[in-house]
Symmetry: C2
Subunit: 361 residues, 2 copies
């Protein structure tokens, strides 16, 4: 694999991850781009002890452009996109409309109230393009490309973790207009947060309690329990198991979990990376087969936070969730979920697992 870092016209970094070691990436971005926005604000919500990012500049972000205006397709002789090259394998670049940004504002920020301190929404948001084909999908990638994506995500996890302002690195893919995707070209993203997000905090707190009570690693115990129960397992091999969790909160939710206790993507062995592609692609293809249409989903890599004292209790896994609950019907987060955090799942996890296993590929 060859890694080539370049600078876009407005100073953002773009990195090519090429499968051919002799790839030459010398195209120059000659667009006339406006200056990058400065970082927005992070405000503290005292009622629930969480940080909220205020990113007003994102209101003007690109919204469902025509395919001919797609910023994630390779450039052509007639049109310059975010990617200067005429073709690519995997490309990662800084988001033009970032929620978190290391371009800090010059003026000092004023707290909205003494109970709501604020700070710049420092950090980094990156876009991960994994296919030049506008109409492809992650599920359609060849195994080698998945390996290249994993290498790129590990590279980014290592680099972002080294930045002093970043406390957590979160690679994910949003797929489908049903969950608000504003660019139809398939792509993933990476958020480098300047705080530990609340789900990560909840997972760490649960892992800490479990360790105190048993001396064990919660992630290992949950995996072992699902392997033992079998009924919710939908796939796997020597290195990974994919299962619908016993207390799934989404109609379709699959966790893809490495057998070895690994903290983040940089900790996977080559064999584990190679073994991930067949398991994950099989899950994705089953998902698309459920209702005979591309399933809208969020695929979220849960990694260890960068510097948290309980970092070693984290357990790397991918959480795939879908809002589709039946053909033509979506699960919405209404009062109970959205205002209270109390999830109601209309599909039994055992049923969801059986449906996924029964898909004919």
């Amino acid at each position: 694999m060859k890694r080539t870092s370049i600078e876009l016209a407005d100073g953002r970094e773009l990195i090519y991850f090429d499968e051919r070691d002799d790839a030459v990436r010398d195209e120059i971005d000659r667009r006339d781009l406006p200056p990058r926005p400065v970082a927005g604000e992070l405000r503290y919500d005292p009622l629930v002890d969480e940080w909220v990012a205020i990113a007003a500049h994102r209101q003007t972000r690109t919204f469902l452009p025509a395919t001919s205006d797609c910023p994630l397709c390779p450039s052509t002789v007639d049109r310059s996109t975010e990617i200067p090259a005429f073709d690519y394998d995997v490309v990662v670049f800084e988001n033009r409309f970032p929620s978190f940004n290391h371009h800090l504002p010059a003026e000092p920020l004023v707290a909205p109230t003494p109970l709501s301190p604020l700070r710049p929404a420092a950090g980094r948001c990156e876009v991960v393009c994994f296919t030049p084909d506008h109409n492809a999908s992650f599920a359609a990638l060849p195994h080698d490309r998945v390996r290249t994506v994993m290498a790129a995500l590990a590279d980014r996890t290592a680099e972002l973790s080294a930045l002093p302002e970043i406390e957590h690195v979160f690679p994910f893919e949003n797929r489908g207009e049903e969950i608000g995707v504003t660019l139809s070209h398939p792509h993933g993203q990476i958020y480098g947060y300047p705080f530990v997000p609340s789900r990560t905090r909840a997972m760490l707190a649960a892992a800490r309690r479990y360790a105190d009570e048993t001396g064990g690693v919660l992630g290992s115990a949950v995996l072992a329990a699902e392997q033992e129960a079998k009924v919710r397992v939908v796939g796997g091999n020597d290195h990974w198991t994919a299962y619908v969790p016993a207390a799934a909160r989404w109609p379709f939710e699959v966790h893809v979990v490495p057998h070895r206790h690994v903290l983040d993507l940089t900790g996977l062995t080559d064999a584990e990376v190679a073994a991930f592609a067949p398991v994950y692609l099989d899950v994705l293809r089953r998902c698309d087969g459920l209702f005979g249409a591309p399933l809208p989903y969020i695929a979220a890599w849960h990694q260890a936070p960068v510097r948290h004292p309980d970092r070693a209790l984290s357990y790397l896994h991918l959480q795939l969730t879908s809002v589709r609950r039946a053909a033509g019907k979506l699960k919405y987060l209404a009062g109970s979920e959205s205002a209270m955090g109390a999830f109601i799942n209309d599909v039994r996890p055992e049923r969801a697992a059986a449906m996924l296993r029964e898909v004919t590929l």
Copy 2:
């Protein structure tokens, strides 16, 4: 006000709250209804220490029926609905497709894994109809009707709090197909949870920390800070203030907060109840004026949990949130919010408050 409790054909309770003390409610529900479902399962998610309700029977619930089939309209001589009477002021009845239910299953439940204990999803789900007019909205109610709704919610809070299985009472209104409302007739709901939901737990934990550090009540301090800052206040009177919180996580979010430290709806004085209607209706009408169309929203009453040791640190308030971020654009909960609990808000709270204040009514 007159309160009349009756039993529907399948044994569910329905309560009329009539503004006329001489209302007679002797209509009988003669429908041939299937038996009520038994309670689903509550499963423990060990990864994040939360309970998830599995309610598979809800997959068959009524989904966007034609107006002529609306189950929340009053009955007519030709058609029997959920409400036997031919007219009503406010009616509360047990949901036919409840997420929580005191009809417990006869067979013992088997835990899916040793790490995911489960129990019946005991509790109660009620529907609150506040107008017989299918095309009305809460915002269009007269002040007296709002008072009757508040009386009904206080009545239900008291009754549900007395049930041994219920730990938290949550009145709310989901409004708009954009957030998944499946019945277009305007209505609210009440969930009686058999656990303390995670947002309530987070608010209690924050209130406990604040009390330990300062000896004060967090809710009072936040209200005072917003009144002092003024810039996010959108309305109010002697008893209530409505403001966009400093760290709002939704593009449009308004908290309507009583000036006196009250734990739940049963604790409001008559004067406070009477004073709520003008403030809340003004907020709702401003919301609908933002984009010249009914704003989709979730209106959530945050009350003290029933028996929690820190119950006295709770502070009653209504949290109104909307997913609309601009005309024709919605805020979706994608990777960062949904998988991580890290909210990105594209609208500055001060701007949202100014927009609400500037609406011409």
